[in-house]
């Protein structure tokens, strides 16, 4: 099996997983107590209006027919109307996804830029003071949930040293750039608007860091462990006996094999961030999809729940495929046959 065939097979399997998840979410969403039509229209709506909405949402049909209608519309690019925002769900997703995606990209970047060097330092200087400090930082990162980091960062940068913005994606006084990708950093650069770029970047720092810190701890700890293992291998001793420089040994012989498990974890953490950003988005008034996802669950907005879950599922599947591809590149011993 060549690489192309391997990835075609992975795409095929991913499509099956996607539909499997859609069935599970479709059924689970209907187990939440309460009538979605009554919740959507409020306590004062007439019974006739509630019944009419139930008809519109096909809630009186069997669950099999409801799922059939959902799939049929999905192929037409129609995710239905959100009973929570009263807008097409697709409009909601297009509005909220870029904000969360940009935030997660920032967090992912911070996770790699801080987590890996921290792990490398720790692994390289094992059992030294550097290692101890790095391990302490990693441990704090892992054991403290993101929402607590959000509050701690707000305490530091909103109260003690009020130097960073703590709410929304950009300053309300600035005009947003023309919408192209929905990512403010990209759109502002495309427009050549560096003021908005700088402002949007500053707004990303605190929420990005709050989401990234637990993952930074994870990545640092894993990198340290793997690097330590690799440094104990015979071929590293062999390289040392050849008087290769420390830098060469670290970058050419140690880091590459040590980073394979880390890459897998980075991929998974990256995907997890998308769904786990809810509380951080709430704390930093971030208009993202994670917050929307929880609100639609509370409001039993069936279309909103399914759409959000499927977007996150798709994100997971894509990230998994990218991770597999990167691991394939990093480790020649793994073949597509494996």
């Amino acid at each position: 099996m060549n690489t192309l065939q391997y990835f075609l097979r992975r795409i095929f399997v991913s499509i099956i997983v996607f539909f499997g998840v859609s069935i599970v979410i479709f059924c689970l969403a209907r187990l939440i107590p309460g009538d979605p039509a009554r919740i959507a229209l409020g306590p004062f709506a007439t019974d006739e209006m509630v019944e009419q909405l139930r008809e519109t949402l096909h809630l009186n049909e069997s669950i099999f027919i409801q799922y059939g209608i959902f799939i049929e519309k999905l192929f037409q690019g129609d995710l239905g109307i959100s009973t929570y925002t009263k807008r097409p769900v697709l409009v909601d997703i297009v509005s909220y996804f870029p904000a969360t995606f940009e935030l997660v990209l920032m967090s992912g970047l911070l996770m790699i830029l801080i987590g890996m060097p921290l792990g490398i330092l720790s692994g390289k200087f094992k059992n030294s003071i550097i290692d101890n400090v790095a391990r302490l930082i990693s441990l704090l990162g892992v054991v403290t949930p993101s929402f607590l980091w959000a509050i701690i960062l707000m305490l530091i940068f909103a109260f003690w040293f009020p130097i960073l913005p703590v709410s929304e994606r950009m300053n309300e006084a600035l005009d947003p750039p023309t919408l192209v990708t929905g990512l403010l950093l990209v759109d502002s650069l495309l427009e050549g608007n560096f003021k908005v770029f700088g402002d949007a970047f500053l707004h990303l720092i605190l929420p990005g860091l709050a989401i990234a810190l637990p993952a930074i701890g994870n990545v640092a700890r894993l990198t340290r462990t793997n690097l330590s293992d690799v440094y104990e291998k015979q071929y590293i001793e062999f390289a040392k006996s050849y008087s290769f420089s420390e830098y060469r040994i670290a970058t050419k012989y140690a880091l590459k094999p040590a980073s394979i498990p880390t890459v897998t974890i980075i991929g998974l953490d990256f995907a997890f961030m998308l769904g786990n950003a809810f509380l951080v988005e709430t704390v930093f008034v971030w208009p993202g999809m994670a917050k929307y996802g929880v609100e639609v669950i509370l409001a039993k907005d069936l279309n909103g729940i399914i759409a959000t879950a499927l977007v996150i599922t798709t994100f997971f599947l894509i990230i998994n495929m990218i991770v597999d591809f990167v691991v394939l590149l990093l480790n020649p011993r793994i073949t597509t046959k494996d």
Binding site: P33, P43, S167, E295
Partner: protein, 532 residues
């Protein structure tokens, strides 16, 4: 060294850019927040934040006067009853919608039909209205099936939309010839006459209002040019933003510990607001043992109102509640501020319990609170403790709202007592009492009592049809007394809210606007506020 200088330069430029991005615009802004989700369609609004938006963007025929001074004309010049079943309302001339169109009677008829056909929001207030017709361009006639005294007060909730503008933007929909009744259009656009126009509306994120410079009543000279309403913001974030001067008016839902912390800050004032609403522990009147009036009286007398009141304390001086004296609350017609609050008397409670036909030890009471509102739990636990004093066993459950609204649809499944808050939608006691306590209204979250008291029913029916205000006050005060005597429900406290506001907007204009209106959502009238 060069590297260090480079990083210093970067850090310095970041800090400078943050500081320079602080609000530099010449326009004045008020930023506030509320729980999601904001509804901008005048035929669908029903909640507190919806009301704030609609009162600022749309106008109704009548308005609430400040300081409980009754109703006053807004888009109308006055009204009269040619007969008990007919109300004629005359319109002001020359009032312009945001589109520039002029208001006339057709707009009122269209707005009413739109509200009733869509069957949501406050349409339930107009169930007695048989027809609405335009007698001429400036007179509208409302015909009711029976004399209906609360009609004028209810008109506060009939927001008038621009018929021509909405019809021009109607697409296919569920309402026959009326298509979607402009439902999609009014999701993010305003078609009213109000002091502000809707500039941006994302129901899950924020709503932005901009000043309507052509507003027929004008604005305070220092009224904000723009209003930003943000949804579902964490209390810690609101506190940070208020202290940084990046937020002007908080919602009234901040936890007491945050309010206590803010009360010590020089840059923030706490404004006390009496609101027309109350917390109740709704007793199920049809389920044993509370289908016996003596059992209800016993639990009413056993409930520890002092302990409940203390649970609302923010600091030693600030208490976010007021002891209740029945169903009539401040801001509503008939409320008597001198009426004594209900008090606990455990000896009388035990004496009443002895008269009850049920033995308390045979019953396990199921007491509920709404799971989404965790601070309700202590009030349910307090009732549990007091019920045990009478010999009952009792369980306390946090019920998700959706489950509660489903359970309450049958009296057999409705808990023995449930903590619920109720707000007056209009300053008329009918809207508050009939919907909750008339025997025909059981089965909604508001009427979890399943009240079934013929004496109370008779008074509530009489109050609806009596058009003399002085008589109505007597009727509703009598109904209030029946409520207490027959222990229809348990009153926890009347609402008192504390709203933190930044010094940027703390002045007599803003504070009097916040304090002097009673109807839900009316007190954030931005055109009357001032930015310092």
């Amino acid at each position: 060294m060069k590297k260090i200088s480079f990083f210093k330069t970067i850090l310095l430029s970041l800090i400078i850019s943050v500081l320079s991005f602080s609000f530099v615009s010449a326009k004045t802004v008020i930023r506030t927040d509320e729980a999601a989700i904001g509804e901008a369609d005048p035929a669908k609004f029903s909640d507190n934040i919806d009301s704030v938006i609609i009162f600022n963007v749309y106008d109704a025929l009548v308005d609430e006067g400040k300081n409980g001074s009754g109703l006053k004309p807004l888009l109308s010049t006055g009204w009269e009853y040619p007969d008990p079943n007919t109300l004629n309302v005359s319109l002001k001339s020359g009032v312009k919608f945001h589109s520039g169109n002029t208001l006339d009677a057709d707009d009122v008829v269209y707005s009413f039909n739109r509200l009733m056909d869509m069957g949501q929001g406050f349409s339930f207030l107009f169930g007695s209205v048989e027809s609405v017709t335009a007698l001429d361009a400036s007179t509208v006639q409302f015909k009711t099936t029976e004399p209906f005294a609360p009609l004028v007060a209810s008109l506060m909730r009939l927001a008038i939309v621009d018929k021509d503008d909405v019809q021009a933007n109607t697409v296919d929909g569920n309402y026959g010839d009326n298509g979607d009744y402009g439902e999609a259009y009014l999701l993010s656009t305003s078609a009213g006459t109000g002091a502000y126009k809707l500039s941006e509306h994302d129901p899950n994120v924020k709503t932005v209002l901009v000043k309507n410079d052509d507003y027929f009543q004008g604005h305070n000279a220092k009224a904000p040019d723009e209003v930003i309403i943000k949804y579902s913001v964490e209390a810690a974030t609101i506190k940070a933003l208020l202290l940084r001067g990046e937020h002007e008016i908080s919602s009234m839902w901040l936890p007491n510990e945050v309010l206590a912390a803010l009360s010590k800050e020089d840059s923030v004032d706490l404004v006390k607001i009496n609101r027309p609403g109350s917390w109740m522990n709704k007793l199920n009147n049809r389920r044993a043992p509370f289908d016996d009036v003596h059992c209800r009286r016993a639990i009413q007398l056993a409930y520890d109102y002092d302990a409940l009141y203390q649970s609302f304390a923010i600091t030693d001086d600030l208490v976010a509640g007021q002891k209740a004296s029945g169903a009539l609350i401040a801001g509503v017609l008939g409320y008597d501020p001198n009426k004594a609050p209900i008090e606990r008397d455990i000896e009388k409670a035990k004496a009443e319990q002895a008269k009850c036909k049920y033995n308390p030890s045979d019953y396990t009471l199921d007491l509920a609170w709404i799971a989404e509102v965790p601070y309700e739990e202590p009030w349910a636990l307090q009732l549990q403790a007091n019920a045990m004093e009478l010999g009952y066993d009792a369980t306390v459950t946090g019920l998700p709202w959706a489950k509660f609204t489903e359970q309450v649809s049958s009296w057999e499944n409705t808990p023995h007592a449930t903590v619920v808050s109720v707000l007056a939608n209009v300053p008329d006691p009918d809207a508050l009492m009939y919907a909750q306590f008339h025997s025909s209204r059981g089965g909604t979250w508001m009427s979890a009592e399943w009240a079934n008291d013929p004496e109370l029913d008779a008074l509530l029916e009489k109050g609806r049809t009596e058009t003399n205000e002085a008589e109505r006050i007597k009727i509703y005060q009598a109904a209030n007394q029946v409520m207490i005597d027959n222990a229809i429900t348990l009153f926890i406290t009347d609402f008192v809210g504390f709203q933190p506001i930044s010094k940027n907007v703390s002045n007599s204009d803003t504070i009097s606007t916040q304090q002097q209106y009673g109807t839900m959502g009316r007190n954030l009238s931005f055109r009357e506020m001032a930015v310092n």
